[in-house]
Symmetry: C2
């Protein structure tokens, strides 16, 4: 495998890894409906401030969201809305998993 492909695979994997946490996925889904300040997430998510802040920072590092400070607050925006398109397919995976399970149980 050439270096270029390896580098690209690493970069893609990094983006996917950023999305592969339930809390971060929740954040992305919520941000799809519009920008949100960290304080809102603090209300909605049952975890320490610092934990929430770190999750947002992972998404930001990955290039999925953007942040903007306005006054005391920080607002996050979904920078790449197409990630939502993923979810349709992910759900397809889930469905096919359920079907496979059903098959096994019928045996």
């Amino acid at each position: 495998m050439d270096k270029k492909r390896k580098a690209l695979l690493n970069a893609k994997a990094e983006v996917l890894k950023a999305l592969s946490h339930p809390t971060r996925l929740y954040m992305v889904e919520e941000l799809a409906r519009g920008e949100k300040c960290v304080c809102k997430f603090n209300e909605q998510i049952d975890a320490d401030f610092s934990t929430i802040s770190k999750h947002l920072s992972v998404l930001k590092q990955a290039g999925i969201v953007r942040d903007e400070k306005r006054g005391k607050r920080v607002f996050y925006t979904l920078e790449v809305p197409c990630v939502l398109g993923f979810m349709g397919c992910v759900e397809t995976v889930l469905k096919s998993r359920i079907e496979a399970q059903t098959k096994i149980m019928k045996q």
Copy 2:
């Protein structure tokens, strides 16, 4: 957040996590071009047999691939081709990341 949504988020995150490793991403991309036996991956990927086998098993657990034993060999197939659709978007993320970097460097 209700239990149902939480469970769905967990399940989705699990699928994404399975995809978020360069070696596994490579496997998925290769399988998109048709089924492949483990032996082929052993030739192409510079890692121990056991490591490769475990990566394939992660993809299988997640419901992304399917395996089929034929003779001595095991063949893997991409069960949910739509995952490739992800990649277009992931590349968009990468591009927007590069743009952001460029912006920073121009400052």
